[in-house]
Symmetry: C5
Subunit: 125 residues, 5 copies
């Protein structure tokens, strides 16, 4: 059975980091892994943000062949308040980092937990 959860976190100040690590959220011992996905839907500059400064959110995660470390949002009062997207992060842990600016920056998304992979699935691998 699939589960899903609203995801909302805040990068509160410069250099703040938030890590999404599906593995650490496993509260029960299970024999087979379940797939996890985080979808980032929205990155919003908080109303308290200083005028005239850029806020840059970087993401760090495992890509197909190597580690990826790349900005995903550049926000500034009067220029861009909110970035709306559908960025999917399948399974691997993801770090969000405010590499420039004092924030706060709010990140909204969706955590999908997939079906239990059964013994049969393992045979297909």
């Amino acid at each position: 059975m699939a589960d899903e959860f609203f995801y909302g976190v805040t990068l509160k100040e410069q250099n703040a980091e938030v890590v999404w690590n599906p593995e650490s959220a496993t509260t029960e011992e299970i024999e087979y892994a379940r797939a996890n996905k985080l979808i980032v839907k929205q990155i919003l500059l908080g109303v308290e943000a200083k005028a005239d400064e850029y806020n840059v959110v970087e993401v760090e995660t495992k890509g197909e062949d190597s580690l990826i470390k790349i900005p995903i949002a550049v926000l500034k009062v009067g220029e861009n308040r909110c970035s709306q997207s559908f960025l999917e992060f399948p399974d691997n842990p993801v770090t969000f980092r405010l590499i420039q600016g004092n924030g706060p920056v709010h990140i909204h998304g969706h955590h999908l937990v997939g079906e239990l992979e059964t013994e049969d699935d393992d045979e297909d691998n």
Copy 2:
């Protein structure tokens, strides 16, 4: 059988609150629960809104491990009139609150009512 409904509510003034509570909408006695989801598609600052003031919409709901209370929109005449997204709130009640500004702010979305969970489904849990 799945049902679906257009969802539209207005936060009419400062500190206004609207609660989406799927449980309270259950009009019939049913033996098995049905899954509910609210998808917020759009948050629109009404044409009557005062110029030069920020309107901030906060959402409060149960996340995966804890309660989440976080701004989801920051709107202002001449800066951001409308925020369009696809924020999904699976099952748990959701409170929308206008924590700053006089509004009005209109929230548009989609209420999905899922399949009846049968006795068989319960066994899988």
Copy 3:
């Protein structure tokens, strides 16, 4: 078998109304109803629109428990030319009304006609 159609209408002047009523589009006598859905994808202020005036589009339709009458777009030359979304209106008739401004305002979307509900489906209701 499902059918689908591009939907495009214009609110030509102040107070203009357009009604989407799937029932009236039924050209053949059928024993079982088919589900209809209108998805509004885009609301665009026409190039002829006057500068310096707000154009407000209101929607009126049946919600889950009651009638909903709510603005869904606020457009103005130099502020917001176009509103893009994915507002779904399942089955019930929908009225679009230009309650402020002279337009023209173009509404683009998608009309989905669902599967025939068979006798078996009726038994599940």
Copy 4:
């Protein structure tokens, strides 16, 4: 088996027209028709566009009951550079026309070719 293709065309000058006609793209003789759909994802004003002029893209296609001819984008340097949407055009030919402005305007989308409709499908019609 379904096929899909990236779709990208340019309206190069005032009054330019591009027609998407899935029928003319049939290179093989097939006994049964295949469904086609064009999804317009993005309409982008080219970097060469003149400042201070509106560019208007009109679409002409068959709707549910009649022919539809309606603007789908209004772009201008410094006002709206790009319009992003998900406008679906199922099966019928579509004409894109630059009815105002000198462009260039780029249209990006997705052409989906559906399953072969088999003899069995025909019996259900």
Copy 5:
């Protein structure tokens, strides 16, 4: 079994090119091809970008009948910081090129690797 990966690359300077070539990513010898798709979700002008210059991203890929070479983003500080879309590139290699401006420009997306095409699928071709 389908695999999926977050995709993030940077066009670092004028004339920079990045190629997505699913074929070159095949690390194992497989008898049957797997379908690949790249979805471009977001094109973001980096915070280091110079003011007052346009940055233009061009894409080159195989379309249905011919090669397509077309701009997909036009970004400039103070005008357009970020372009969000859902541009799908099924299977064929794709080249992203910064044909104007000094960047940097970040491209974010999703790489979907499809099911193994089995012997049975080949018979349907």
